[in-house]
Symmetry: C2
Subunit: 336 residues, 2 copies
């Protein structure tokens, strides 16, 4: 271990968000650059290596002040092996041993993590999950991802694919999912699914105020559906409510599988605010059992876009040293 600071990098298909955390886990410097993913692996890799130098300089530090780099990445990857198997929005990023290559290029220890796991860990150490020991984050965007903290530890499962909650099945033989399954949660409750279900219903001849919008050639978004539902459109209201119902059922299933004290939502869909949170909570209260008071709180995450880079940096700190986060819950658990 050379330093007490850590760097967090949240690699996306469009942008890279990155920052430097001090020994207390505080984000002291942050930046964002375009990924320029279309220009291929070598180009992006070079940008990321230079980004590390810029972050260190921007924070007024030297490389020797940095204990490690945490990397949140999209798509199938292995934390244990340090490999990115592929990323739909990053052409050429196939079977890349990113941990060893980025470590060699920067001279710093590197930790790879699934981006939703990193975001969950970020909320756990520094966001809405601070002070808990058992929490789950759901990312409600194009798809639905997640991250699970149990007993104060990020839980990855055997194949580093735990918390793929968007692909838990909520309707047996339900809507087909590109993953090959049917009835996945993300086919009902993701931003994409909400928009698609409305477009499909219009094609089936159902009535909605949004038909006019489609006839003008505009693609329906989840924001349109939420707005139309609010304005009393029956079709939009039904689809929105079903999205909330299946999210509530997913929360019941998380409760009985993981038994967390807190379930957090983040991602584009939470822009709907109370129009999302209130019906999910009310469906949850109607759906969940009465025989135990082991009910998690359901709330929105608070770190927004910073969650991934903060969580990645915190995970790098866990593995590569520097001070630990002082989480009372985590400490009591570690001493068990």
């Amino acid at each position: 271990m050379s330093g007490k600071h850590t760097i967090g990098i949240d690699l996306g298909g469009t942008n890279v968000k990155a920052g430097v955390l001090d020994a207390a886990g505080k984000l002291i410097h942050r930046t964002a650059i375009e990924t320029q993913a279309g220009r291929g692996f070598d180009h992006v890799f070079g940008r990321l290596v230079r980004l590390v130098d810029e972050l260190v300089a921007g924070a007024g530090l030297h490389k020797t002040d940095i204990a490690g780099i945490g990397f949140g990445t999209p798509g199938p990857m292995s934390h244990a092996e340090g490999i990115i198997y592929g990323a739909p929005n990053l052409p050429g990023w196939v079977n890349i041993p990113l941990r060893s290559r980025f470590s060699a290029a920067t001279g710093l220890p590197v930790t790879l993590e699934n981006d939703a796991n990193a975001a969950a860990y970020g909320e756990f150490v520094a966001g809405a999950g601070r002070g808990t020991s058992d929490m789950v984050l759901l990312t409600l965007g194009t798809g639905i991802g997640g991250g699970i903290v149990m007993g104060g530890r990020l839980q990855r499962g055997k194949f580093d694919n735990a918390a793929e909650i968007g692909h838990t099945i909520v309707v047996a033989n339900g809507r087909a999912c590109p993953c090959g399954q049917r009835g996945c949660l993300e086919r009902y409750s993701s931003a994409n699914a909400v928009a698609e279900r409305l477009a499909e219903a219009l094609q089936d001849g159902e009535q909605s105020a949004l038909r006019e919008l489609v006839e003008r050639g505009r693609k329906v978004t989840s924001v349109d559906v939420a707005r139309a539902a609010k304005e009393g459109d029956a079709l939009a209201a039904r689809i929105w409510d079903e999205a909330c119902l299946f999210l509530a059922i997913a929360c019941v299933n998380i409760q009985h599988m993981v038994n967390p004290e807190l379930i957090l939502f983040t991602g584009g869909l939470i822009g709907a605010g109370a129009q999302l949170l209130e019906p999910v909570k009310s469906h949850f209260e109607r759906q969940v059992w009465r025989i135990s008071r082991d009910v998690p709180r359901i709330a929105f995450a608070t770190l927004g876009d910073d969650a991934g880079l903060i969580g990645a940096a915190a995970l790098a700190r866990l593995e590569h040293g520097g001070l630990q986060y002082a989480s009372p819950a985590g400490q009591s658990n570690a001493s068990r």
Copy 2:
């Protein structure tokens, strides 16, 4: 810590199974007594205290050889608090601080654990899960319970209710469950549910060879349904297949939530053998995603009735000392 041996007790409404494990985790002595639950808490408690003395003597040991007692108990309880909140089949066992009371009565450290968690941990350290780091056990009996091991550790969740997999919802607004929910897994795939669904279908006028049996005044059991399904009875076959389908969907959901390498079944329903395991596996293969090879093996547990007491004793060893189990997977994980 006084000794190297541990005692495991699996407390049931009808029988108590108990045994002594040596320092290597080997079961060197076992016994079973009637619970005599109907005679109330004090009576049963006294029997259990005497049982400890008999176990120690029966194994040719002294109390000073015992590092601790692990207690697997049914019904709502708290491992952290050491309290049994209630147990449907144990009249009078309400809000009992069993850990402190049993420890005071026996002079030995005591660990309380949910019985399904104890069984899962038993299979993990000494049964079909030996050598894994991430596994899930499902107990398929009157109801459906479970236990989750992730990263080599039993995972209890915040409220000690993790792995209540029988109450994950597999059918939105489905069959009513005594727990207050609708569509719980155990309303489709437990031994009770299979028998009940057939009885209900007969009442609804559906045809089945089992009607004759009911008309002779016999209650249909899951064994009857399995046998009739095997003999070509269409109604029994449909109900049995649906039980297997929903178990398979639960396995998909476990895969995406917990991402274990192994899912084990135990309990009465596994008496059906391949007639249960093969359709569950085949439904699972049809239901599960294609985009990652993170697929758990699905198999039967191997310790039978001993799993609970072995797991309880192993958990007592974890908390109260003695040698640790040498699980290669657990070790590598602990060093992360």
